[in-house]
Amino acid sequence: MTKQAVQLSLPGFEQAHGGWRTEYSRQIGADRAIKNRSGVEIKPLYTPRDWNGDGFLENLGFPGQYPYTRGIYPTMHRGCTWTQRQLIGLGTPEDYNKRVRTILDAGATAISLIPCNSVFRGNDCNEVDLPLLGTCGTVVNTADHMDRALDSVPLGNISTAMNDPSPFTLLAFLLAVAKRRGIPWTSITGTSNQSDYISHFIANHMFFRLSLPGARRVLLDHIEFCRTYVPGWNPVSVVGQHMQQAGATPVETMAFTISTALQYAQDCIDRGMDIDHVLRRFTFFFDISISFFEEVAKFRAGRRIWARLARERLGAKDPGSWRFKFHGQTSGVDLTVQQPMNNVARVAVQAMAGIMSGLQSLHTDAYDEAITTPTEETARIAVATQNILREEAHLCDVIDPLGGSYYVETLTDQMEEEMMALIGKVDDAGGMYKAAEAGLIQAMIGQSALAFQEKVETGEEKVIGVNCYQADNVAYAAPPTERPDVERMQQHVASFTAYKAERSQTDVRRALDALKRAANSERDNIYGRIVEAAEVGITHGEIVSLLREELGFGHPLVVV
């Protein structure tokens, strides 16, 4: 894709430019064509001929002003730095609690909870192989477990991200705990950061628990419930991360994520909700790859597209609805098992791209991300990386520091154009829900994944320690692997089994019956019943299996 050259009236420009071009060609010899991961051709030099500030107010403007290309708030990181939100999850609720308190003592103001893979699959701990429990997240199956996991954590004063796909049992457990402790739900803040069921159907198959129509209904009920009872909670996080991890290019990722957000917004409108009430609580969650400038352009273009579509297409009137709030996670896909310490450098570059793009919240991967769940030591280095970038590198001093770069502005425009073309393609397919249902998106992402892998195999895309500089591989020791204590996990399972047997079976039956009735009645709010069930001690596995029974089992569409 080439962009129309702009007309310039700079005296002497043509002559100087021509002189450079001649000299460049002479010295470089046969120049190689370079395309970024999204397929945009990258030139050796950008000048005012590519971008000269035309349409400044309309396309860039000022931070905190529509269309927010330069940032969604007037002060950005100079006023308030990004939230350091490290993902945590391991072992038993007690193990998690120990880690989370260490982090809070170190000054963290936000926490997150990653549940065990068994939870993602909708199982309770007594239903899966013991060696797998707690290796990748915390085993939380009940409100009691959540209470122990969050022991001494001041729930009303801390923002909590729950890695909690539909039907959002972890938030239900959290609300049950808040009620027990006398903390009003109106003071609970945080995000359901795995609420994007379409992204799970397409790319993160592990999180896909309910059928597409079932998940669609539960999300809308969840949004309505939170709006009424937990107004400080963000019920929707639209996740580009899974798609990029699965191989989507940065352009595809942003386009498909925005198409997904449009779908959810439209579903809310169709339900009769006020679009401004809903959109103000929309958040986004992205991967940040090491393709530095491409990532910066991705986020800047995404911010502009979202503002325009939210205002013009969805008719939102509140500026809060136009602001594209996003959390970024440095991409694990770029990290290598080979020479793992090198990942510290990679994560720093990825984090810089995210920070210079004006993100609101950041998770930096530990250097052992490609190998195992982080140990305390590797997690500390990941947090320190953020501190170094903030305090020593002075990345917070200037808002949108790359804005106005001929290259970055040109790339932002070009990538925006490509994103809009893809968003149009999804529109033509009937919107994101239908496009995903038909496998259209999965096929495109699969193609991109294979194409990228081929570039790595041929050496066109260099990865240190993988296809070049392999001689150094031996010099690095593998980081240590930490696995949960098997005996403690066994006790956790045993106490869970005993707990289930000791509950009032009448209460259990009553709560499950109410949930079943809600599932079969369009007028009832299913999420309200899930929260009630959590309060009387119903387990995660019981809730998910009942809903799978009533609303359909979630089989993701796997396209090879």
């Binding site: 797998l132 592990m206 991890q245 080979q338 993988v466």
Partner: protein
């Protein structure tokens, strides 16, 4: 690209057991083996061990490839046991994905012939699977001759 040289072509099951769903790697490796002329049976993640044993039997599989990105390799020895119990101990077993160094020996002892990681070259994977499939086919053919006699 290496062809397996087998007739009928090598039959390879590419699957994931346990709880994890990261399947970018398994999809790419499945495509590699298919493009190398093998017959690939591909499943979605989260297969149970009995389901894998059943597939191996019904699909006359030569090599089982387990993709593990998040600790599911810890139950591969259990799968190997189940295959042996079902009389399928001769079927080839390989693992791909993320297996920390200190957890490799347990898999090798269970009969896993190769553990591929990120960066394993395509040709190396194909060559190993082809050789393994040929070996398994020899065992199967010998068994068949024995029965035929």
């Amino acid at each position: 690209m290496t062809a397996t040289g087998l007739n009928p072509p090598a039959r390879v099951l590419v699957t994931k057991i346990g709880l994890d769903g990261h399947d970018r790697g398994s999809r790419i490796v499945a495509a590699y083996l298919r493009d190398a002329g093998m017959e690939v049976i591909y499943t979605p993640p989260w297969q149970s061990i009995p389901a894998v044993v059943k597939l191996v039997l019904e699909e006359d599989v030569d090599v089982v490839g387990i993709s593990s990105l998040a600790t599911d390799h810890l139950i591969v020895p259990k799968l190997a046991d189940a295959l042996r119990t079902a009389g399928l101990g001769h079927v080839g077993l390989i693992v791909g994905g993320i297996v920390p160094d200190d957890e490799c020996p347990a898999l090798q002892q269970a009969g896993v012939s190769a553990i591929f990681g990120p960066g394993s070259p395509r040709d190396e994977i194909i060559a190993h699977v082809a050789a393994l499939a040929a070996k398994v086919r020899d065992v199967k053919n010998a068994e068949f001759r024995e029965i035929a006699q």
